[in-house]
Symmetry: C2
Subunit: 1015 residues, 2 copies
């Protein structure tokens, strides 16, 4: 399917961006848009033949060099693109002659950039020229170009010159000093070194020609080694030129030139390299793709944004991270901001966790710089740089210096004051750990990040004895329109959250990795004298801060004040400025903006967003509504920060503002394809790309991360008929294939019940149910007996909790007891808000903003679980869910075997208490296997106990992880509950009530038949 | 004669600098030392073949482009040097293979740089290579290179590649964007444009080979067009390659590329171009050379410094000036400081006045920028930039930003506070006018500079009602170690001086060019309502400031306080820091240095130096001695500013401290040849070069600018046997050829008499007389009857005043009468200090620091002259000087005719009063001719009246200008007085007392015989 975006001369297909016309006015933004890369380097989409004022650039991760004012920047590397074609003496160039055909394509599937041109030279010779290039994903040191040349109407001399340009420039600055260059049997090489950081680079290049005879000439203009070939071209005969380039730096090898020339000597031809690249990309997309149907612009543009993240994420180097403008532009000089951890990281965390680990490890490597920064400012621990580069030292420029002889000096205070990043990075580290269970990383690296950054907060807060509160004064919050504010809610709450997690991590470390704990205690001077304990000064201090940090929140209305005095600032009506084309700060000036209630980007709303998945304080539905109503209209969403729109899209979607959500989502989605902020020439908006992924997955896909893994609670935009993606969680893949369908009835199964019991979103889920229906089909997983249309089912394996019985009541009783003991008001009605909510989130909801320490919270969670286990003992057959006993009996009568597959270690107790032990042939419980769901082990164990093949078994599950486990195990899956949760199952049912074996059998047979036809 | 400077591998001949060995450690300083240029561009001495880390640079006057922090800089232009030689596959390069011979020579006489090399390639082929280059002084757009190649021990393939490198860099930054490039019949061309200032540049290049057959190949690597030739070389056979380059910018022509290629098409060969260049240089040196004998290092090094000024001074463009580092380095980014006007300008003023006029006109063109600066700071008029570039706007960086992540921000206050430049430029303009009499320039440009800059002072001073004084607070004086000082003596006195001159210039303008006066009144808003007059507000204000500006001067001791509170600062003994290798500021830090009495460079002493020639307040002998004793030991002369040593050399010389004077002179002289400040790599110290000229001319040469023109009062350093130079003054050339001889007895004639009566220097002149003797021979002027050994003398032409009579007593009486009328103490003893001092200087001495306005001073000068003319009427024969009447009688008896040659319009009156009218055959007086001495007109007129040929005539003179007039006229010259004054004469005598015609005749005959032998 194709959509034409006329203003940009763009056509979007599923995977390919097609530019139909060359517009010199858009030269620089298109150079960004057509960037390619492979996680090691990025190369902008400049033309092989050059163009006046073109800004070709290749950035390699970690290759920084000194520069005035902004300290350091990613050095533009020698340009591997130059490929000059001289047609009977006329150099091919788009600014001369006549362009008869122009077609540039970026194929996202393989990172392949190509151009198809027909050009008439000033002398009147017409030629077809095709260029192709890619940076290999199969071998990151390999870059390849191909050029087809076909004279249309002449015979004549054609010369092709392929060069390495050793004079790349960063806005005019060339970071490289020439060391050497030369030629080999294979071609040419160039050796350069950055001026200050002394990073050496070696590049090699070869060129081959086919379809004619031509000898290779080598010219050695200093810094511009060139391979050239001249041949006698014949009309209508195509000649192909291949140029292969290799590149290494001293960051990977001691001898970059040798590495480059040796690799070059052993490389296969272009076609073989291309094939390997395609295979590598296939694997990448296998994990990271999002399929959208019904909205072809979004379908392409979402992939386009993911592509930008994929080519920027380092796969083999954990000492680098993704700059704000990825590897695609000079903007922000390749510096790394919170953008990476908060906006981009989730995409990697859930689809490329190894890259996520690299990104976070980068921060661990920069701890020495963060410690230097803290020491410089007179604080303790690690104070992460607002802008970070190779060392982790602060590289935010101090001054915004214009070139006006008499201009004002504008001091940039972010380096000193925008300290929320010190909690943002630990937030990301914690979430990585939660999502992956990567204990190894946490103990080796994550813990040190979280603890040393926490030490900083301990020295940064100030205790105000009058208020008896800790304060954090003189900061810049997320909203950078207001400088030197006190007690910014985002900063204070994130610091508090961070300290809570720091204590939890420390306790975990002491328990699980005592040696590492001791090591860190000594290194970070956590406990100079004695082991960190309840009586320890640091812990006490942290707990005291957690308990007493100031947070400007009205518990009655849930309205939060962004910082002290925000509500006293002059109000503003942004509608009065409609039609503007720049930021409010640009309109009002820095000083005046400071005095108005106008904010650059979500600040309070950003805090609510970050606490949304865990439903941590201050997140709740009312708080979201109240604060949205207050802050959204005061946010400069169009021209403030590009970080804003994606977050607004998710929250608007939560609030049922579908139109607004989609509108603001499109702002984010098209930021670079449509250059809607006018600064795409500076590079891709990396954080926006990450925000787009979050908006699709967490917003429209409605993914919630429950104790059982990710669960979908989708509310797809109008027109989106399908949304399909994968998420990686705790070592396993979860496939989601969400449909907004044709009212086949299945929608009702998954919708409208509210059975998921999420703490929020019920309202709009219902709305969604009213106006559209979601159909669930199976996930893209192995199909049992795909060759056989009729399933041969011989056994059923039931999950226990949520399938045969429901422990919600027992959970309620546990919570009630806990609440009573703590003197917190709680009742059955309040409990309704806890359905499907994790244990932690439930507890946070109950305690509200009461100042409990993290340790206390942990203790309460344990206590409630103890009560729950005690309550199990009182279960009876009355606790069987409706329909359960009838179905069990019918199955047994039909000769179907019955197994139980429950992760619970109390499963046997529960079965006995429920009185069904005699109906069960086999039990797989918490003692049976090592790997939990969604690993298939438990069900495979049960099937084996039943003496059945997987394909002969039906698993009945109410959790996504269980459904996945069944599918992965090659079994039939019946999901109970909403499609968002169990949509991956072959059949989705609301519950077992009224379910008949005969009906189920028919459904499974039909599915099997449909699948067989489609094979 | 040759001197070897071992540490730098240098040999100095009279004109040629020879480097005998290549030391990579000195790569960058030598690139500066071997700079060539032609007043349009300068090209550093980088190698044709390149070298690792080489920094080749070509700077073209006025080609500025934007750069962060420092606003703008001279853009390094495309490099015309690349000439690569490939010997049997091995690229010639000094970092590989073996250097068997190395000899680099810079011939100052013709600006020719050459290298003679024998090199053995890594493959073992030995070759002799010679490179030569020059930037034509005959045609500033032409650059030429030649290369001789002679295989020593092999036959084989040699390839020569000549390129233009379009990737030049300013410390890594390339200011040029590529527009186009191509080839012509003659060779290649390149078109580039500066990124921001949009100055277009066109360069063309051709290459020819002789001594073999080879075809020219053109390769067109983007931005690096290259001409190459490959030939079969034979052992011992020399092949010559010539590369000619042309360059134009859009500052000179609208079509720089066409201009370059067209010129290239019509150029003759290298040899012809070289010849034209040599002729042009001959003319330059004819005017500007200084010949020193007896000190070969100084002889070469002085020429080296003049060479640097000559290649930097723009001859055809008056919108540019000479940057602090000339056109030879990146230091100070090509910005222009007071260095040009105060240090470099005098050299041009007295040897290349057209260039001086260009340099000052540059400031006139920058008045709009200076007005913007004044307006920005809230002042009126023109406030000249401390650092100036193309527009005259202030381009001193605001911040010294290091690349330390946590370094302190150092604010540079010179842009705001170092305002003495606003008087320095008018000082230079005034002196240009005084020296040249260029009224046209003064009315068109100089007056506007002087007046508008004066308006600034009117708005900058503050009246302190308590003190009843005007103050200038919060400045940086010349000494930059102290910031924000109040009432810096240099600044206050220079401002006062400037306002005095502004009134004088204005009055002159009103009188001589009333239309221009009206125009400026309107433009500068001098008199919004009525014509500038005595009642006018502006004039009254200026006069009030002149009268009441604060000047911290003790009239008793003559000690001046550098600024308010300087004497209260902590004292320092620089001897305690002996052996240091950096500045005191570097040792103590900025803050501490501010608190000590340590100064970066002469400040009070600089003021005394600037007032020295005119003997204006506060200059006098005692003031010099007192302030030298105080300030010199507190001056960081070795590592403070490089502006210091030359000034100290002159003053030390005045004070008879010959050893110290020479020592500090050598510091200045060798600053770049010996790199004694370690920063020659940043570029030539232009101000030091100018200071060297001033030290030689005004210091050792002792040139005083009297009413009659420049007069020498030399005190040559030990070992200097001869000092010869020319000065241009009021449209005429004055030759000086000063000798320090072998005790032939003549020395006594010129020495020890103190008859010159200079206000200073008598003491050390006597010392000089004690330890060495000065012999005077004729100037380099036409020699009368050079072919005939025996002079045939038939007439004597006597000057009147100082020869036959002495008007000193009458002058004294005139001054005494004036002093009495003004109530100023004055007596005969005080009058002794006025001998030989100009009318103005005499008056300034008498009035001391009494606050007279310039107008009052002018009036007093007129009054005194009136009294003098009246006194002449009372002369009698008693006023004839001793020996006069006897010689006149003897001559008449010998048949020698007697003429009078006096510029006085009262000559006839005086002759009659003296009673010698009957002894005189002819009178040439102030009515006889138009051109005054040193034009020969007056004496030629007298000789004609006497009926004699010039060579038959002897002129008797007591003034340098008179002696010169005689010599220029081809007459014999007898000088009366010290050698410093009349040393150019054939015979020098103290007076006419005891002089016999017979003795004189013998002397003249002997001289004629000696001269004949030497011909």
């Amino acid at each position: 399917m194709q959509t034409k975006a006329r203003s940009r001369n763009f056509i979007y297909t599923d995977w390919i961006l097609i530019e139909t016309q060359f517009d010199p006015e858009q030269l620089h933004s298109k150079e960004t848009v057509f960037t390619i890369g492979n996680g090691y380097l990025g190369t902008k989409g400049s033309f092989e033949e050059g163009y006046p004022h073109a800004l070709p650039a290749t950035f390699i991760h970690g290759v920084y060099d000194d520069v005035p004012v902004v300290y350091t920047e990613l050095a533009n590397c020698p340009d591997w693109l130059p490929l000059v074609v001289i047609v009977n003496g006329d150099r091919f160039r788009l600014d001369q002659g006549e362009i008869l055909r122009y077609d540039r394509q970026l194929d996202l599937r393989y990172g392949l950039l190509s151009r198809y041109l027909r050009w008439r030279s000033p002398s009147g010779n017409t030629i077809d020229i095709t260029f192709e290039r890619f940076a290999s994903f199969a071998d990151q040191h390999v870059l390849a170009q191909r050029c087809h040349l076909t004279p249309v109407d002449f015979d004549g001399l054609i010369e092709v010159q392929g060069s390495i340009n050793g004079y790349p420039e960063n806005q005019g600055f060339n970071h490289w000093e020439g060391l050497d260059q030369g030629k080999t049997d294979q071609g040419i090489w160039l050796q350069r070194r950055t001026r200050h950081s002394r990073i050496e680079l070696g590049m090699g290049a070869t060129m081959k020609i086919s379809g004619t005879e031509a000898s290779l000439q080598v010219s050695t203009a200093p810094g511009y080694p060139t391979l050239s070939m001249t041949y006698l071209a014949k009309s209508q005969q195509t000649v192909t030129v291949e140029k292969i380039v290799t590149v290494f730096t001293s960051r990977e090898t001691e001898t970059p030139v040798s590495a480059a020339t040796e690799k070059l000597a052993h490389l296969p031809d272009y076609a073989t390299l291309l094939k390997a690249n395609e295979q590598a990309w296939d694997e990448i997309w296998q994990q990271s793709d999002i399929l959208i149907e019904g909205d072809s612009t979004a379908a392409f543009a979402v992939r386009y944004n993911l592509f930008q993240l994929l080519i920027a994420g380092s796969r083999h180097d954990d000492k680098v991270s993704i700059p704000a403008k990825t590897l695609s532009g000079f903007g922000y000089r390749g510096h790394i901001f919170w953008d990476t951890e908060i906006f981009m990281l989730p995409f990697f965390l859930f689809t490329q966790p190894a890259i996520a680990r690299n990104l976070l490890s980068y921060r661990w490597h920069t701890l020495p710089g963060a410690r230097r920064k803290a020491a410089h400012y007179g604080y303790k621990g690690a104070m992460f740089a607002w802008e970070s580069a190779d060392t982790g030292d602060e590289v935010t420029p101090r001054w915004a210096l214009g070139n006006d002889f008499y201009g004002e000096d504008v001091r940039i205070w972010c380096r000193d004051r925008e300290i929320h990043i010190n909690a943002d990075i630990p937030y990301a580290a914690w979430n990585y750990w939660q999502a992956t269970g990567d204990d190894e990383w946490m103990q080796q690296r994550g813990a040190e990040i979280i603890l040393d950054a926490a030490i900083f907060w301990g020295s940064r807060v100030e205790f105000n004895p009058e208020r008896q509160r800790y304060e954090i004064r003189g900061v810049i919050g997320v909203d950078e329109y207001h400088e030197f504010v006190h007690n910014n809610a985002f900063t204070n709450r994130m610091a508090q959250w961070h300290l809570e997690k720091a204590i939890a991590v420390y306790d975990w470390l002491v328990q699980k990795f005592p040696e590492r704990a001791t090591e860190l205690e000594q290194k970070l001077k956590l406990t100079p004298q004695e082991r960190f304990s309840c009586g320890d000064a640091m812990r006490t201090h942290w707990q005291d801060i957690i308990a007493k940090i100031l947070f400007l929140h009205d518990p009655l209305t849930e309205l939060i004040e962004q910082f002290e005095g925000f509500f006293q600032l002059e109000d503003i009506n942004l509608a009065d400025y409609q039609g503007r084309d720049r930021s409010m700060q640009a309109i009002l000036g820095i000083e005046k903006t400071n005095k108005y209630q106008v904010i650059k980007q979500p600040d309070i709303l950003m805090l609510l967003y970050l606490m949304r998945e865990s439903a941590d304080f201050p997140y709740n539905e009312k708080a979201l509504q109240t604060n949205w109503d207050y802050y959204a209209p005061r946010t400069d969403i169009s021209y403030g920060s590009s970080l804003g729109p994606a977050v607004h899209a998710i929250l608007a979607s939560d609030l049922g503002k579908s139109t607004e959500a989609y509108e603001v989502f499109m702002q984010a989605l098209m930021v670079d394809l449509e250059d809607n902020r006018g600064n795409t020439s500076d590079g891709i908006h990396g954080a926006t790309a990450g925000g787009v992924w979050q908006a699709v997955i967490f917003g429209f896909g409605g993914i919630q991360l429950t104790e059982n893994g990710p669960v979908a609670n989708s509310h797809l935009p109008d027109g989106w008929t399908r949304l399909k993606f994968k998420l990686h969680w705790q070592g396993l893949w979860h496939d989601f294939d969400l449909h907004q369908g044709l009212g086949m009835g299945h929608g009702a199964l998954g919708m409208g019940h509210g059975a998921l019991g999420m703490g929020h979103g019920n309202k709009e889920r219902r709305e969604q149910g009213d106006k559209g229906k979601t159909e669930i089909t199976n996930a893209q997983s192995p199909m049992p007996n795909a060759q056989s249309p009729m399933p041969n089912i011989k056994g059923f394996i039931f999950d226990l909790d949520g399938v045969l019985t429901d422990t919600a009541e027992l959970h309620y009783q546990g919570w009630q007891k806990l609440a009573d003991e703590e003197g917190i008001p709680f009742n059955r009605q309040a409990n309704e808000a806890l359905r499907g909510v994790s244990r932690r989130a439930s507890l946070m909801h109950i305690i509200g903003d009461r100042p409990y320490s993290e340790a206390q919270i942990e203790e309460m969670m344990e206590r409630k679980n103890r009560y729950y286990v005690e309550l199990i003992q009182n279960m009876t057959s009355k606790d069987l869910l409706p329909g359960a006993i009838a179905l069990l009996d019918e199955l047994r009568q039909a000769g179907i075997k019955i197994g139980i597959g429950s992760a619970s270690k109390n499963a046997r107790t529960v079965i006995e208490r429920l009185g069904i032990a005699d109906k069960v042939d086999a039990i797989a419980d918490g003692y049976s296997v090592q790997q939990p769901k969604p690993a298939p082990d438990l069900f495979l164990y049960a099937a084996k106990q039943l003496g059945l093949e997987p394909a002969q078994s039906v698993v009945v599950e109410d959790a996504a992880a269980g459904v996945e486990a069944a599918l992965v195990g090659g079994m039939w899956a019946v999901g109970l509950g909403p499609t968002e949760r169990v949509g991956a199952a072959h059949v989705v049912l609301p519950s077992l009530e009224g379910v008949k074996w005969a009906d189920l059998r028919t459904k499974l047979s039909n599915i099997a038949r449909e699948k067989a036809c489609s094979f």
